[in-house]
Amino acid sequence: MLKKILVGFFVAFTGFAQAQSQSQNLTLNFESGNRAIETGNCWAFGAMSYYTSSSSIPSITGAWSGRSNSPTNLDPGACWIKTPWIIPQSGNITFNIRFESANATYTTRRIIVSYIPVNPANFNTNEGALVRFDSITYTSTTTASFTTPRALSFQVPSAIVNSSNPQPYKIQISLVGTGGTVRYNIDDLVVPGTYQADPSNGCRPLVSRPDADGDGVADTEDDFPNDATLAYKSFYPASTFGTYLFEDNWPMQGDYDFNDLVLGYRYEYRLNSQNKIVSMQVQLVPRALGAAFNNGFGIQFDNINQSDVVSVTGARTQPVFWLSTRANGTENGVQEANIIVSDNMSRIMPPPTPGRFVNTESGVPYVNPDTIVLVINFRPGSSVDYEYVVPNPYLLINGDRAREIHLVDNKPTSKMNIQLLGTGEDASSVTNRTYFRSVNKLPWALDIPAFVPHTFERTDITTAYLRLADWARSNGTSNQDWYEDIPAYRNVNNIYRR
């Protein structure tokens, strides 16, 4: 009855019925019905399975019991159940057992109980040599096959119970034998001891790992082991810089070389041990300015209120009449966290020769890119979740604060003159929440999650990236890797090189 109540409780609240430690006992009742659950909790099974009760093979108790293979030898490794690492307590190891069939023949059946000490030199399992400490043997000449369960009990050896210096051990129940096909059924295994295994560490003995800053994240997993306010870094894109490519002739169609502003980017999100974002570091690398305009660049975080930002450092702005920032570094007059990174990218990356473009023409000296490192600190306790910090990057056209160019369907900031939307060749619609698509459904900006080289000046991007057109025509379902450096994907003659 108690077992049924417990099973009902766990099924109701966790969806799992599992092996559980109650006070000083570790139990295995098979009621999870899924050996993988116990295996995930560091139990181990050799030539053993779970079975559900049926008329031909009823379970011992509950709906599920354990079942051995037909043992063929007396080695403890024939069929066995092994507990996770435990700190053994004094008392008795108990379980119910029976032979599966009264009719099947057998010669010898033996139940061996052993313990396994820790051997740190065995890196994979930390297991030492098996030590047998008790057994019981049945022979066909003295004992008929019994299908009524028998409760067996084996005393935990005092050698492994040490209250002053407790050490972890595993207990192994081996179900072995020779001759015939009689299998064992087993259930209700109880082992006195406390659970001491770590399923997240290869089921090795559970140990307390060093945590210098005490934030609950072990030093080996902590990207900031000496800073309790920070624990992790997450990235977008993960392993490389991404690339923003802009055309700046909005709302009119451009030449589609997508090199009016070429900007490398990488977002590094810094989380605390509660998985909330504490700060961000944004690396921005302007790589080319194929534009006659003096364009600026900004990023808005649409889902973040400006009041959640404590500070912004690293922006490259100079005093200009149209730019006003709050003390926290966000732009005044915008409720969202909006950051003007540069009022004029040409000042960060000046043309090598007056009147020439930057890094888009052959025969013009190459300008080494500078790196802008933007650090955004969020208000402690602002509970900024990782998934809400989605950047909305945009180009500011030629010092005109009212004109912005965003990625397709990214909304403009509140500083944009929305009267300009839908003019020229732009088909933006505030009503439909569609933004920065041309009447031909084309964009003025692309965001590529990889470092990609840009085209030469006035070179149509589709003549350099040969799969881009197919990707676009397929509605993004094919050639999703169109920008990768794969044979036949690029025409390098149309890609800028020094």
Binding site: S21, N41, A197, K233, F235, S273, P443, P449, A469, R473
Partner: protein
């Protein structure tokens, strides 16, 4: 010494050349029955015809639901979701209990077909071709004995 054709031979040769030319011309004008379609030549970005709802995104947003594994004791470790195993390339890293059901929404490159999900030494490779993916910490076990 050079061989010369007599007038009769020259006439016959002329007839053969004329017939051969005619046959070639007829054949050249005939379209092969099963012509292999050729990819369209790039027409330029401005000529691209795309669906009105095409979003031009090279990234996708996916939700990964991690089903926790009830444990005997609270087991806390770092859950990571990465492009590759190893390296400083995590799309997500966070501290979680092994028994906790976790839902993480990530933006990843659209071309990314799989992710590595790790919790301590537990590691699984998951397909991310759909918008919602479920993963658990259960180990792969050998099938039960028949």
């Amino acid at each position: 010494m050079k061989h010369k054709l007599n007038p009769m031979q020259s006439k016959k040769l002329g007839k053969y050349i004329a017939i051969g030319t005619l046959l070639f011309a007829i054949n050249a004008c005939t379209k092969p029955a099963a012509e292999t379609p050729q990819p369209a030549e790039p027409q330029g970005f401005s000529k691209l015809e795309v669906a009105s709802n095409f979003d031009w995104k090279n990234s996708k947003t996916i939700t990964i639901n991690v089903t926790g594994l009830p444990t005997n004791e609270p087991i806390r470790s770092t859950l990571t979701m990465s492009r590759h195993s190893g390296g400083n390339e995590d799309f997500y890293a966070g501290s979680h209990l092994m028994s906790e059901n976790v839902s993480v929404t990530l933006r990843i490159p659209a071309a990314q077909d799989s992710l590595i999900v790790r919790f301590g030494t537990v590691q699984k490779t998951i397909s991310v071709k759909t918008r919602t993916v479920t993963v658990d910490y259960l180990p792969t076990i050998e099938p039960d004995i028949p």
